[in-house]
Symmetry: C2
Subunit: 315 residues, 2 copies
Amino acid sequence: MSYVVALDVGGTSMKGGLVTLSGEVTVFPGRPTGRERGADAAVATINSYVSELADAGTATFGQAPAGVGLAVPGIVSATVALYSANIGWRDVPVAAFVPDGLPACLGHDVRTGGLAESVFGAGREVSDFLFLPLGTGIAAAVVVGGEPYGGANGWGGEIGHTPVWPDGEKCACGQRGCLETYASAAALARRYAARTGDAATAKGIVERAASDGDAAAVLGDAVEALAISLASYTLLLDPSMIVIGGGLGEAGPALLDPLAERLAARLSFREPPPLRQSALGVRAGMMGAAILGWRAAGRTDWSPGLVGHGVGHGL
Amino acid sequence: MSYVVALDVGGTSMKGGLVTLSGEVTVFPGRPTGRERGADAAVATINSYVSELADAGTATFGQAPAGVGLAVPGIVSATVALYSANIGWRDVPVAAFVPDGLPACLGHDVRTGGLAESVFGAGREVSDFLFLPLGTGIAAAVVVGGEPYGGANGWGGEIGHTPVWPDGEKCACGQRGCLETYASAAALARRYAARTGDAATAKGIVERAASDGDAAAVLGDAVEALAISLASYTLLLDPSMIVIGGGLGEAGPALLDPLAERLAARLSFREPPPLRQSALGVRAGMMGAAILGWRAAGRTDWSPGLVGHGVGHGL
C-alpha cells in the first residue's frame, strides 16, 4: 500500500504520521525540534525523524514512502524553507529535511492546515474561506479558489497583528491593539490573570465565563476583537465561510455563538458568512502535510474523503 | 481597424469611448444614466449610448465594433448585472445593455479599474496588489494573480466600510469608524466644514494643509485612517504594491508621502509595500471596460502597452 510521511513542524516541537493512499493515518509520538542547539541541528533532527518514520513505514507496508510533506513555520516555498524567526533557519532546501531520494514538498504551517480544511475539512464544499486557528498566537490561511494564498512574498495571513483597537493595549510586536493581544489563548490567560491575580487557561476562562464576571469580560473583549477583525476580512474578501480552529476553537459554540452575533452586529449592508468549527482540529497541519506529500509524489489517486478516519498510533 | 466600445457606468453618469486594436482611444462626452426614471430607463439609456458609440465607430472605422465592455456598479458577473443599490436594477443580462448581436462583457466598476491598472497601469509589472481609488466613497480592487478578486459572491473589496476606529464617528452605513467616514473625498469636505464652518473640496483641503491647522487635522485623520486600514490589508494579503487612485489620489505626494510614513509606522515586523499613484486616474474604469470588450470579442491581439496613448475626443 502506498503511503506518505507527513510532518507538522512547530517552533519547539513537531509531530509526524504516515498516511496511506486509502486514507489511513498512523500518528507517531511528537518530538522536540532541538532549535536551542541551532538551525542546523533542527534541520538534522527533522531529517532523522523523517527517516525513522520512513523506516517504520517500510517495515509496515513493505515499501518506501511515495513522498514526504512538511508543514513548517516562517516564510516557505514548496522547495525552500526561506526563513523562520522561530527556528532561525534561512534558505534551507527541502532536500535537507528528508533522506536522499525521497520526493518532498514544503508548506507554510498555517496555510497547510488551511489546505487540509479546504480539501477534506470544514471548507471542503466551498472554495473561498478563511481558516483561523486560535492558539498561543494567531495567524490565518486566506483560501482563494481552494488553495491557501500567501500573497506576493508569502507574508500573508498575519491577521493576529492587524490593528483592532489602534490605540489599545500594547502588543509584543511593538504595535498597539493587535487582534492577538486580545483574542489568542495566551492573551485570554494573561488578561484574566491581570484582572484577578489567578492563573487560568483560555479553555477554563471560556468555561467559567457564564458564572465569573472577570472571565466574561476577558472573553467578551476577545469576541469583540475577533468580530471587528472578521468584519474587516468579510468586507474585503467576501468569504463563503470562516473556519475557526486551534485549541481555543475547540471551545465550539461557547465561542462561536457570541462571535456570530457580534460579527453580524458589526456588518451593516451584508449578511455575515457562516462560522464553522475546524473539522480537523490540531491535526489540520499534519493532514495538509500529507496532501503535500502526495503532490510531491505526483499522485492524485489518494482518497481525501477517507483521510482522518482509521486513525491509529505508531511506534 | 478593429475597435471596441468601452463604457464606465457610475450611479448618476457614465462615460464611454472607442478603443482600437492598436490602442488609440477616442473619448466621448459623458451622459446621465437617468436612474431617477427607474432601472429599466437606465438600461435603455445605456443601450442607446452604446448604439451611438457603435454608430460613430462604424462611421469612422468602416466596421461594427468587435465587442463592448461595460464597467457597472453593484454586484456583477461577466454576463449579468445582478444588483445595484445605486441604480436599482436586479438580474439584468448583459445583452440588454447592447444592440443585438454585439459580443459584450460586464465588470464591477472598481474591479474593472483594477484590471486596467493590472494590465497596463501602475500594477502592470506585478501580479498581486491593491487598487484603492479614493473618491466620494471608497471601495477597492483586490488584485490576485493579475486579476481582480471579488470573493465568493462578488461582494469583496468593500474596504471603505472596514472599521478603523471601531468606536469612532458614525458612518452612513450604520456602523462606526469606517475608513470612508474619515478618508473619502466627501469625508474630508464634511469634517472640514464641521470644524470651520467653511466649504472646501478635498483637493483644496490637501492643498492648504501646510498652512491651515484645521485642514492639517482633517487630512491627518484621513492619512491615519488609511494607514491603519492599509496596515491590516498588508498583513493579511502581502501585496506587491498599493495603487492609490480616484480624485483624491491625484493629490499625489501631498497624500502619498505622509501615508507611506504612517503605514510604515503601523507595521512592526515587515516592510510596507510601496505606494504608487494610479497610472490611469479617473480613466481606469473605461480602460478596463475596453479590456472586457476585447475579451468579449475573443481577441487577444490588442496592444495593452499602447492604450492610453493617442487619446482623442469624439462626437
